[in-house]
């Protein structure tokens, strides 16, 4: 916060004039961008529908309450599928992501030029694409069903788990590594004895954390045909059976809360 000398008088200002000008320009740009964006959206909106929204909302709510309790019976199987998509998908991702993380970590990547870059590229691509998009792709390739869901979850999780795991490997203490190397151990044995024990808590924590996220994601994969409770959701929405929809919402909420609880318990236990 500068003090400006003008007419022999020290003047205190929060910023210099140049900074003030830049700040104003910045704000102007943001506001202009927002106005443009809003105009763009507004042009593509049918405002008649929007003015009708409160009535539509109230109507929707009245149809959703009470939930269709009897519908629960047909939901157990999709729920079981959802659980399997999340769990098997996470396991599959762990199998792929663990070696990948060792290739991507600076301190464990083998001295083969370009290998680390490839591993990082795989991690980045996997992370950038939402599991729902992976599911779209896989449903097209493999056909609708649970298998597409499992692989979609796995493809998205590989990048997530791989990134967190390789960061954990890079943060591991170098002293035991040096000590194990000094005994004449092979590079593979060094990783096994000096690195693996150090990253075990992180590994367990990351796995359960991702499993928890995957439960949430698995509930919606059905929207594009990749199995699980989302299939029922899409079917109910398509026939405007809002009582069923709210029932599915309740079940999803309960499942998500339960998996969050399990994940929090396990993570508290391993750290």
């Amino acid at each position: 916060m500068p003090v400006i000398h003008a007419n022999g008088q020290p003047l205190w200002r929060q910023r210099t004039p140049r900074a003030v000008l830049l700040a104003w320009l910045g704000w102007f740009a943001v506001v202009a961008l927002l106005a443009l964006s809003w105009q763009f959206i507004s042009e593509r909106t049918i405002w008649i529908f929007v003015t009708d929204a409160p009535r539509q909302g109230a109507d929707l709510l009245s149809r959703m309450v009470p939930p269709d309790w009897a519908y629960t019976g047909t939901l157990w199987r999709p729920l079981w599928d959802t659980l399997n998509i999340a769990t098997l998908g996470t396991l599959l991702a762990l199998v792929v992501a663990t070696p990948l993380a060792f290739l991507a970590a600076r301190n464990t990547t083998p001295a083969i030029p370009g290998l680390r870059a490839v591993a990082l590229l795989v991690i980045v691509s996997s992370r950038s694409i939402n599991s729902l998009i992976w599911a779209l792709l896989l449903v097209m390739i493999l056909g609708p069903g649970v298998l597409a869901g499992i692989i979609a979850i796995a493809l998205r999780s590989i990048g997530f788990i791989g990134k967190l795991l390789y960061e954990a490997i890079e943060e591991s203490d170098a002293k035991p590594v040096e000590a194990i190397v000094a005994t004449g151990a092979s590079p593979a044995q060094m990783r096994l004895y000096a690195i693996v024990p150090q990253i075990m808590p992180a590994f367990a924590g990351i796995s359960v954390y991702r499993w928890d996220i995957n439960i949430r994601e698995a509930t919606i994969l059905g929207l594009v045909g990749a199995g699980g409770i989302g299939l029922e959701l899409m079917a109910s929405v398509n026939v405007l059976a809002w009582g069923r929809v709210s029932m599915i919402f309740l079940l999803i909420l309960a499942t998500v809360l339960a998996s969050e609880w399990v994940s929090a318990r396990v993570r508290a236990a391993v750290t």
Binding site: P176, E178, A179, T183, S186
Partner: protein
């Protein structure tokens, strides 16, 4: 010149474009000889020790262990040579989340395959040896205790036992007492020198505590700015030599007190 067990000739090390960390260092070590390597921080003590088992690659010079020229080995032969060189570290460098026994067995990794190591199926002889060594460092009751549950002195004794698990021909010891209190430091130094004496095992002990060096080692090498400035008996280590190594200082204070110590402190501790 006697052909010692370990011979170092013209060893130099330069990190990047910095000044030389080691500058034309030569000396040799006979069987059963335990020497102290002293010098101020940054004199190159750690670098020297790590050049011997090539945790740090030397820039120039040659090192022989017996008939093996360590400096010319390929990766595979280097691993085999490293099995013959035990190393003890300043901050113990144990694998904290493994048990005491697993830390000891890690000293045998150079002799077993990947899967045996992964499944912890070591040869019975290794297990026997580990139990014997645990008794010798008085940690017999701690077999399955995790390393991070031990005190500093106990951890360093695990570190010593791990190095001896290798049945080494040479022991490299890097500041074994720097992380320990004075009493434990003396116990550890006594233990190391005693175990070396029993085995006729030569050792280079890198240490900044001059009184300890003088007390437990017969021969001392003084290093300053990467050069050897003193190599001789510990008894000849007088104020003039210390000033040569460390620069001017009043060397009387503190040493007298340390000399007047009891040798009967038990190795065991709380």
């Amino acid at each position: 010149m006697s052909l010692g067990l370990l011979r170092i000739e013209g060893l130099s090390k330069r990190y990047g474009k910095d000044a030389l960390a080691l500058d034309d260092v030569s000396f040799s070590l006979d069987a059963g000889e335990v020497i102290a390597l002293i010098g101020p921080s940054g004199a190159g003590k750690s670098t020297l020790i790590r050049c011997i088992n090539r945790l740090v690659e030397p820039t120039a010079g040659r090192i022989w262990l017996g008939d093996t020229e360590l400096t010319s080995l390929d990766r595979r032969s280097l691993r085999q040579a490293r099995r013959r060189i035990g190393m003890i570290f300043q901050e113990f460098a144990l694998v904290e989340r493994l048990s005491v026994m697993e830390n000891l067995l890690s000293g045998r990794l150079g002799y077993v395959g990947f899967w045996r190591a992964a499944l912890r199926r070591f040869p019975q002889a290794d297990i026997e040896r580990a139990f014997d060594l645990l008794d010798q460092v008085e940690l017999g009751a701690m077999v399955d205790r995790r390393a991070d549950a031990l005190s500093g002195g106990q951890r360093q004794r695990v570190g010593i036992a791990r190095a001896l698990m290798q049945t080494p021909d040479l022991l490299l010891v890097d500041e074994p007492t720097a992380s320990l209190d004075p009493r434990t430091s003396r116990q550890i130094m006594r233990l190391i020198t005693r175990l070396c004496g029993e085995r006729g095992l030569p050792a280079i002990i890198n240490i900044h505590d001059v009184p300890l060096a003088r007390r437990y080692c017969q021969r001392v090498i003084g290093l300053r700015s990467g050069r050897i400035v003193y190599d001789g008996p510990a008894t000849a280590l007088d104020d003039a030599v210390l000033t040569e190594i460390y620069g001017a200082e009043d060397w009387d204070t503190g040493t007298a007190q340390a000399e007047a110590s009891d040798d009967d402190v038990a190795v065991t501790e709380a």
